[in-house]
């Protein structure tokens, strides 16, 4: 084992690396104290934030709001940040993962080793958050990640619930929240409680369909009957088999976690073959308004989980803007409809600024990490602290669910229709069955 010397920093296993670092710091401190003027004349200390997200490639819609958020951050902070009564220049270095996990790891190590960032931020899907978090853990740089359910972030990286990680922290919801949000949404609607599952053979599909940790046990407990024809390969051209199985079992509710092309193939074929469920609640494929618009009128009343919306009763700690104002500002600046990552990416930078401001010693990764651990911030996605999470290193945000409703201008709005899992978030309407 070569990687165990990074754990247990405060325990008896105080590692050789830590020893060298702290003695080095002490020696440097002594040297600096003896010549304070050279320090003042030397180049100013810049605080650097590294940010990795998938700006190109198939995951690009997740990063669509990044530019807007970073620009507005610059306007608010004027590129400077106050730490311990002293103003430092703040630099945000943004890198594109190109939707590729290898590339994500590469740019993360660049940010750490050549740019020497003080804090790493990363968002959007386990394909991006995991490699970047791993790099930070190895190189002992604090890292905050978001927009990936916490289980694939924590367990896929080999996290052990009682041990956790030392340098990497995450905030988002988990699988248990989706299951809760979906089942309470279906409970609010009259149906025969027969649910059909579309679970692809990938990380998400296997987790959702898992016999122990996924949908099956919870649904059984809540009185739903699950029809699961089996795992399929993504980018399938034909869903006749699933449709036939659903029709045979008289399924009235369809759920799953599929990519947009698979949902449209399924939905087109279902209607061609006379399968008419009352509710279709799907993760991933129905996340972005453009994907729902692509379905035309057939997107009306399809449902999905909602992590953030303009109606969430939270506001930004940076700008003071409410969730609604943030979404409005984005639409005014870009002409695009709000998307859910908007709130989370904004919250990511809220956290970064808050943590850096509270850092006791600029340039010390341990000090940044200690400030991170003490975080208790009300962000635009809700209150965040890393004390009460399901496992160490994870902070949970509230999750509700809702439906896409067709507006007058053939644009879709996402409306909260079930808030049993987070009653603080106001309802936007009632759950409606899909009409044909």
């Amino acid at each position: 084992m070569t990687d165990n010397n990074d754990n247990n920093l405060f325990g008896r296993n105080f590692s050789r690396r830590d020893f060298l670092r702290s003695t080095g710091l002490a020696a440097g401190g002594v040297a600096l104290a003896s010549m304070p003027f050279t320090f003042a004349i030397g180049s100013e200390r810049v605080i650097k934030l590294g940010y990795v997200s998938p700006q190109t490639g198939p995951l690009a819609p997740f990063a669509a709001a990044d530019n807007y958020i970073i620009e507005s951050l610059k306007q608010v902070l004027k590129n400077s940040i106050n730490v311990g009564g002293k103003a430092y220049r703040l630099e945000v270095i943004v890198k594109d993962s190109q939707s590729n996990p290898n590339r994500a790891a590469e740019v993360a190590s660049e940010l750490i080793l050549s740019d020497q960032v003080d804090l790493m931020l990363v968002s959007s899907t386990p394909e991006t958050t995991n490699p970047v978090s791993d790099q930070c853990e190895i190189n002992e740089i604090p890292c905050i990640s978001t927009v990936a359910p916490w289980q694939p972030w924590f367990f896929t990286r080999g996290g052990k619930p009682n041990q956790g990680f030392e340098w990497t922290y995450h905030f988002f919801w988990g699988l248990e929240d989706v299951i809760g949000a979906y089942s309470s949404m279906w409970g609010a609607m009259p149906s025969n409680k027969v649910v059909g599952g579309l679970f692809p053979n990938d990380g998400d599909g296997n987790a959702w369909g898992d016999q122990k940790l996924g949908f099956p046990p919870v649904l059984a407990q809540k009185g739903f009957q699950l029809v699961d024809p089996g795992r399929f390969q993504s980018l399938t051209d034909d869903f006749s088999a699933q449709i036939a199985a659903f029709k045979k079992a008289d399924v009235e509710i369809v759920t799953g976690v599929v990519i947009p092309p698979d949902l449209s193939t399924f939905w087109t074929q279902a209607r061609q073959q006379g399968f008419k469920p009352k509710a279709v609640s799907v993760g991933k494929a129905l996340l972005f308004p453009t994907a729902v618009e692509a379905l035309g009128k057939a997107g009306n009343n399809l449902s999905t989980e909602i992590w953030w919306s303009p109606t969430h009763p939270f506001s930004s700690s940076l700008t003071g803007a409410s969730a609604g104002q943030l979404a409005q500002g984005f639409t005014q600046a870009t002409g695009k409809q709000w998307t859910q990552p908007l709130g989370f990416v904004h919250a990511l930078f809220e956290l970064a600024v808050d943590i850096l401001k509270r850092t006791e010693e600029v340039g010390d990764a341990h000090a940044v990490r200690d400030a991170l651990l003490k975080t208790n911030l009300n962000t635009v996605v809700g209150p965040i602290n890393w004390k009460g999470g399901p496992v160490k290193n994870v902070a949970k945000t509230p999750l509700v669910s809702g439906q896409w409703r067709l507006g007058n201008d053939s644009k879709y709005d996402l409306i909260v229709t079930s808030n049993a899992t987070a009653p603080a978030i106001p309802l936007g309407g009632e759950m409606q069955a899909i009409t044909y």
Binding site: P61, Q242, A244, G296
Partner: protein, 287 residues
């Protein structure tokens, strides 16, 4: 009844696969060109149709009136200006160039259209269905299958009843002798690519009505096209249709047993035919 439905859906899916494959079959049959960018050209055609639909207000099927001629010209120019220069005794240069084209097409589409998934909506026709007994069959898949029959029938006539077809076949059999007889190979190749692209554009529009697409879905379609060509036998157009249908039926039957078997079943049938009849079911070309 359930099995009959499975079989029928498979045959109809086969029509779409055959259309993916016809273009490949033409390119390989006439100029021995393996086009790695084929799937990306299908997606390119879908985006062209999307532009026509959005800007001119055409329905997706009507957009074919503009997209097909555009892709026809694109194919001709592509062959004359670029691909002809790569053809020779070595099979590697065209392979590499089309591989490069695949990456270029994907990234250009990403630059102009972003990664948002798109779909063409054909209104009520898209979900219309006809009842046969107690089976419910979509009208769109029937149209797709019918178009595949028409296209292949039309190409068959072109190849065996016209002087252009004779030139195609002659070039396919022996380029050098064909040139001695006064056939302009460069032009013939250009026309073959143009025809292939015209078929590709029809396949692209049908695909875009069936499912949603984004700049990166092309390569996945290439594989089915290849398999259909190989199953049917190189150089045979009707064989290509048979190949597509066999692939489609194998997939739906596999899915009927277990959805995890769907795509695998298609590949297994492909391998099986490769073992039993290495030159496909209805091979025409001799080499």
């Amino acid at each position: 009844m359930e099995w009959l439905n499975t079989l029928l859906q498979g045959v109809l899916l086969g029509g779409l696969y055959a259309m993916f494959a016809v273009g490949l079959s033409l390119m390989f049959g006439i100029m021995r060109l393996v086009n790695i960018a084929h799937g990306d050209f299908i997606v390119l055609a879908s985006y062209l149709a999307l532009m026509v639909v959005n800007h001119l207000g055409f329905s997706p099927l009507a957009s074919l009136l503009i997209v097909v001629p555009l892709m026809f010209c694109f194919g001709y120019l592509l062959q004359r200006l670029l691909l002809n220069r790569t053809l020779g005794t070595d099979i590697l240069p065209p392979l590499l160039v089309t591989f490069g084209l695949s990456i270029i097409v994907q990234n250009v589409l990403l630059e102009f259209f972003s990664a948002d998934s798109q779909k063409l909506s054909q209104g009520d026709l898209e979900v219309a269905s006809v009842g046969i007994g107690n089976l419910s069959v979509g009208v769109m898949p029937l149209i797709v299958f019918g178009s595949a029959l028409l296209i292949i029938g039309g190409l068959q006539l072109l190849f065996y009843k016209t002087s252009l077809g004779r030139a195609f076949r002659a070039t396919s059999d022996d380029q050098h002798t064909a040139r001695l007889m006064g056939v302009n190979n460069a032009h013939i190749f250009g026309l073959a690519m143009a025809l292939a692209m015209a078929v590709v554009s029809i396949a692209g529009v049908f695909l875009a009505i069936r499912t949603s697409f984004d700049p990166t879905v092309g390569p996945a379609r290439l594989l089915y096209g290849f398999e259909a060509v190989i199953i049917g036998g190189l150089g045979s157009l009707w064989g290509t249709l048979a190949g597509g249908v066999i692939l489609g039926v194998a997939q739906t039957l596999g899915a009927k047993i277990d959805p995890g078997w769907q795509i695998l079943a298609g590949h297994l049938v492909f391998l099986l035919i490769l073992v039993v009849r290495p030159r496909g079911l209805f091979p025409r070309s001799v080499d």
